[in-house]
Amino acid sequence: MKREPVRVFPETEEYREMLEIKHLRSKNHLVIAILTAGALITILYTALAAYPLVYVLSLAVAFLALILLNLTCLAYGRENVRFNQLNKYVTTFGVFSVAVAMIFIFRSPSMLSLLFIAYAIAAFYQDRKVMFISNVSLLFTFLALMTNYRAFFAVENASAENDFGLFFFVIVFITLLTISQYIMIKQKGFFYNQIALSRETEFRNIEFMIDAGEKATKTTIDAKGYFAATEAFAAALSARIGVPDALGGKLSVLRELEAGETRETILERHPDETAASLSRLSDLLFTGCHKLRKVAIKIGRVRAVDVHRREIFSETQFKTFNHPSDTLEIKIIAFAIFYAALKRGSAGMRPLSETEIYDAIVHSDYYYYNDPGVMRIYRENNAVFDAIARDAFSAEATK
């Protein structure tokens, strides 16, 4: 049994969720706008059609409750992201409840479409659980209404063919909506995946670049020079603004952290600092792969970024061995080169074992970087691949 593919970098999962929540808030704004429009149309209609006040008020209260709930969850969502999650589920239940209430109040075949409108509103969230709730609500409500309240949907020219057609096409419609929602949820996931993956790839590539640079040049960053220059800068700044120590002793704490002093010793010497502040300050160190160095490296590269409109959505941006324009031979060769290069290794990149390669390719996003046929062959014959590579790279073969 093949395992489900996992993210190539599991670290990205939290970032993906963060991206999702960030965009969920903008979707909430749109849902509130649609609910408000729906409320205005409904109340206007019930008032113009002279419906009893109790109906007008009950529908107004239901819409108002939904809108207020959305606003409240948006506000609290800033403090706790779970409110945003809660909001989408409750709103989905809410819109279906209001739709059913309206069907019962108006008792007209025209109101059947309200269920589709409720589905369309819930579809905004592009969430798997919401999709499940919507599908169950839509299907259950439709079947319940058609079975027990058939009279609501009786039109002038009712016939057996009409009944069957209605059942059949509503079921077809629900199936279509479900497939459509499912794919759209996945499609959105692709972008979140790619951005999260690129973030992690960037993080690791910076570290790789630092290491390669230090190994190639056999030098490390001149930390002493950085501290000396910054101290001179701090002294000049202090003189300019007229305070004795403009940087509040932070430089000496950083210097001790850089020297590898224990946190306990530093805390004894600098009672104003806490364990949390030391942990934060360690991000401001500049040697090795510390955070601030990464920031500076990234800033230094930003000026070179120049994106043209045509590059957005260009398939060439997606680096893969499965380009649709490539022939099967090219796809095979691309994978063979990739595999052999990993097995051979090179300066700065150690040879990888078969288990490492197999796990990373077959059980992660990388599986989809390749032609399905080629992947099937590798999955079923990885031992053969391993044997070919071992044979080629064995000492005798390389003589």
Binding site: L48, I179, A296, E329, I333, A360
Partner: protein, 395 residues
């Protein structure tokens, strides 16, 4: 079939063109089911039997045409044909029967159109369907009303259909903007990663030369491994596996001669040049897609610091909330930019550092929002001379 279903389940790993293909196949399947069901319904429609048979034959031909378009990878054309097919089905039903269920086809058609998530497609076909829907409702009001219906019921049909259209239009607009923004961010990230990899590759080459290692494409063992692996895979998938060695020879030849010379060579056929052009992105002698993928893949096996919530945070204001810490951080960053190379110079060496003026320009650029707050930029501007004099270029 199982492979297709697996691809559907894992759509979030697939690029846009693959997803489009999956969507077309799913819609084609859906249309085939509806067309098959239509055979049952069609003979109760108002059309003559001959007309019904002709129309059904056209639908079958249409399905075959969609299949051919998918088979030959003409996905955008297939998308348009499936939509036209859906609209034709809708017209066939709405003109053929007075039954209430025909009205559902407006919703079904809109759902098919919105499924493709292409704004211009929704705006053209979707608007046409909604417009025809309104016309149909107003013209066939008698078929849709209940014996004792609510006042203005026919307008409720119109409003609800238009609301459905508008909700999906808003969703399409929102998705279009969202996907464009995400894509832009992704492309920018890829470019920045590319610039790191240019440096890494340069350094790895230095290490290789120092260690007297041979490049991949000159290594006989590597060639042997690629050759045997390619033949093995090719033999599993095609009848003549050995043919692939010609493509492999061309691949090695591009490394030796360079793509430009191969393209200019009049003795080589157009198809060979085409293959050479496609192979170019997989070369190993510069930062190609192949080298990028190899590097990215390899980073997975490097030890990295454990995950922390601020792992992808590059804003100095959030990394160092206290003002004095921010000044120290800014000073270090300035020192780094002024002294450490961040680009290749005119001779292709990674030695280009930034001048004070370039740093001033950079800090004032809108891209700095990701790294610096307005307060930090203002502080830098006010004290730019101190930064230049004390943290500027050494020597």
């Amino acid at each position: 079939m199982i492979d297709f279903l697996r691809r559907v389940v894992n759509t979030d790993f697939l690029p846009m063109n693959e997803v489009r293909k999956i969507k077309v196949v799913l819609i084609m399947t859906f249309l085939l089911i509806v067309t098959a069901a239509t055979v049952g319904f069609a003979f109760s429609f108002v059309y003559d039997d001959v007309v019904t048979i002709v129309v059904m034959a056209v639908f079958v031909l249409g399905a075959g045409f969609i299949y051919l378009l998918i088979r030959f990878n003409r996905i955008m054309a297939a998308i348009h044909v499936t939509i036209v097919y859906t609209i034709a089905l809708m017209m066939f039903y709405t003109q053929g029967t007075d039954s209430f269920y025909a009205y559902l086809f407006f919703y079904i058609s809109l759902s098919v159109i919105v499924f493709y998530q292409e704004l211009y497609i929704y705006l053209t076909y979707g608007t046409a369907v909604a417009g025809y829907g309104v016309f149909y409702i107003l013209m066939h009001a008698d078929n849709l009303l209940a014996p004792e219906d609510i006042p203005g019921s026919i307008y409720a049909y119109v409003v609800l259909l238009l609301l459905f259209y508008v909700i999906f239009l808003i969703q399409s607009l929102h998705n279009e903007k969202l996907y464009t923004d995400l894509n832009l961010e992704w492309v920018k990230l890829n470019q920045v990663i590319g610039s790191y990899q240019d440096f890494t590759l340069y350094h790895l080459e230095e290490i290789r030369k120092r260690e007297k290692g041979i490049p991949f494409y000159e290594d006989r063992a590597f060639r042997k491994a690629v050759d045997e692996l390619s033949v093995f895979v090719c033999e599993q998938l095609k009848e003549h596996g050995k043919d692939i060695t010609n493509v492999l020879d061309l691949y090695i030849y591009i490394h030796e001669r360079g793509l430009a010379k191969i393209i200019d060579n009049e003795e080589l056929s157009t198809s060979t040049k085409k293959i050479a052009n496609r192979l170019d992105k997989y070369l190993l002698n510069r930062r190609t897609d192949m080298v990028s993928i190899l590097m990215n893949f390899f980073t997975r096996f490097r030890t990295s610091e454990p995950y922390r919530p601020n792992r992808y945070e590059y804003h100095l204001g959030r990394l160092a909330p206290a003002t004095d810490e921010q000044i120290v951080a800014l000073a270090f960053v300035y020192r780094y930019l002024a002294n450490e190379p961040s680009a290749f110079d005119a001779w292709g060496e990674p030695l280009k550092t930034m001048s004070h003026e370039e740093i001033c320009q950079l800090f004032a650029a809108p891209e700095m929002e990701e790294f610096l707050s307005d307060g930090q930029v203002a502080f830098f501007k006010e004290n730019a001379d101190l930064f230049r004099d004390h943290l500027g270029r050494k020597g």
